[in-house]
């Protein structure tokens, strides 16, 4: 796989939000306005880039058994740094993102990429992967924010749009609108994606963090069901 493919797979084919369905919480919560979405996307991309580079560089040093706690500490460290930078240089964004900024720690995209890519690949490839995935996350987030802000609020980057501003559908900027627009977007991706819409299964089977959350939770869930 060359560098360009490595980068572009995150944008479309393996888009973390719309295809892999990762990081749903920040996607739904921060896509109320385009500027918030861009801020969130950028913050997550910075954390993802730093964590992917460091985890990839340390992949031979970190013992396999304690890798998840190590990743979490590294990611939490970078999140804290980003949090401090945003607080210092973009206080308005900090206020808008609120709790979702520290919650980047538990964003499945970051831990998922560390587990699926960074601990198996070279530093440069991991950095490119992080940039691609981060761009894909930002793109999906901005697309959703565009729909929600333009139709829900009648504005574009805070500037009112002539007709829509007087006829805005304010429910779209509220919580139900988030679920609704996200559902529509995924349906559109299913409709227009070249390959057949694969059955998106949730839970442990569809979750890339399945291996991460201790042992294979699939087996345990099945074991529990059989009891």
């Amino acid at each position: 796989m060359n560098t360009l493919q490595n980068f572009s797979k995150g944008l479309v084919k393996e888009n973390p939000v719309l295809v892999l369905v990762l990081g749903t919480c920040p996607t739904l919560a921060t896509s109320t306005s385009i500027s918030n979405a861009l801020g969130m996307g950028l913050a997550a991309t910075v954390v993802l880039l730093c964590s992917n580079i460091v985890i990839s560089a340390l992949r031979k040093v970190i013992p396999d058994k304690v890798r998840i706690p190590c990743y979490i500490v590294l990611i939490a460290g970078f999140v804290t740094m980003v949090q401090m930078l945003v607080k210092a240089f973009a206080p308005a964004l900090d206020a808008a993102l609120g709790i979702y900024l520290p919650l980047i720690v538990v964003n499945c995209i970051i831990l998922g990429r560390a587990e699926m890519f960074a601990n198996k690949n070279k530093v440069f490839d991991s950095a490119v992967d992080a940039l691609g995935m981060g761009a894909g996350f930002t793109l999906a987030l901005s697309l959703m924010a565009l729909i929600r802000e333009v139709f829900g609020n009648g504005t574009f980057f805070g500037l009112p749009i002539p007709v829509l501003y007087d006829n805005h559908i304010s429910i779209l900027t509220m919580a139900p609108g988030g679920f609704f627009v996200f559902g529509l977007l995924i349906a559109a991706v299913n409709k227009f994606s070249a390959h057949k819409p694969k059955k998106q299964d949730f839970g442990c089977t569809g979750c890339p963090s399945a291996e991460i959350c201790s042992h294979s939770c699939v087996n345990r869930e099945e074991a529990a069901a059989n009891d």
Binding site: V21, T24, C25, P26, L28, A29, P69, I72, V73, A76, G77, T80, Q83, M84, G98, I99, P102, L103, V105, V106, N107, C108, L111, I171, M174, A175, P176, G177, G178, F179, F180, F182, G183, L184, I186, A187, A188, N190, K191, P197, K199, Q200, D201, F202, G203, C204, G206, C207, S209, I212, C213, S214, H215, C217, R220, E221, A223, A224, A225, D227
Partner: protein
């Protein structure tokens, strides 16, 4: 007392963690297929939320804040929660095997659950007292429980519905979640006026 009741009710209904704050969406969509797994997961979440708040609140107030280490909040909280979940699992396995059998499966899933980390950070941000923080955690957990159980009911009906092909699976589930979330909007403003 009134304040505690308001905190509890608004955590359950108005600021419902799943349906209006979008925290814990993954388990909400993932584990809500069957009623019994939805119940088990939400009970585990309530349990861990209470334990996590009881552990992280004193750490923040008595350890981090007096020493000017408030910026370590994120790292400390996630580590404490991860360690706590492991500890709870081991203790349950050893001493309460029956409870471990019903909740144990879901415990590892909760470590990286944003609802748990979210509630501990929000308790600090809101400036609650310890009692208020515990009540808020209980309310948030109950809200999660309510959303999960309601939604597993909706999903069991959804399974039989005939939906357009591209909406099958996740998209229609999200649209259904939007409608459930819509019903919770109706609670806005009710609780403040309840005691006025």
């Amino acid at each position: 007392m009134t304040k505690l009741i308001i905190i509890l009710l608004s955590a359950v209904f108005i600021n419902n963690y799943v349906l209006s704050r979008f925290l814990g969406i993954c388990p909400f969509l993932g584990v809500s297929k069957k009623l019994d797994s939805a119940t088990g997961m939400s009970l585990a979440v309530i349990f861990v939320m209470l334990m996590a708040t009881a552990a992280t609140y004193p750490i923040q107030i008595y350890l981090l804040d007096p020493n000017g280490l408030g910026y370590l909040q994120t790292i400390v909280f996630i580590l404490v929660i991860a360690a706590l979940v492991q500890l709870v699992e081991i203790v349950l396995k050893r001493f309460v095997p029956s409870l471990h059998k019903s909740l144990g499966v879901y415990l590892p899933l909760i470590t990286t659950n944003c609802a748990v980390l979210g509630v501990t950070i929000l308790n600090i941000d809101e400036g609650y007292t310890f009692l208020e923080a515990m009540v808020n955690s209980l309310g948030s957990g109950l809200g999660f429980f309510l959303a999960m159980v309601m939604f597993s009911g909706v999903r069991s009906v959804l399974e039989k519905a005939d939906v357009p092909k591209s909406f099958k699976g996740l998209p229609i589930t999200l649209v259904a979640a939007a409608i459930v979330s819509l019903s919770f909007l109706g609670f806005g403003g009710v609780i403040e006026n309840l005691f006025a």
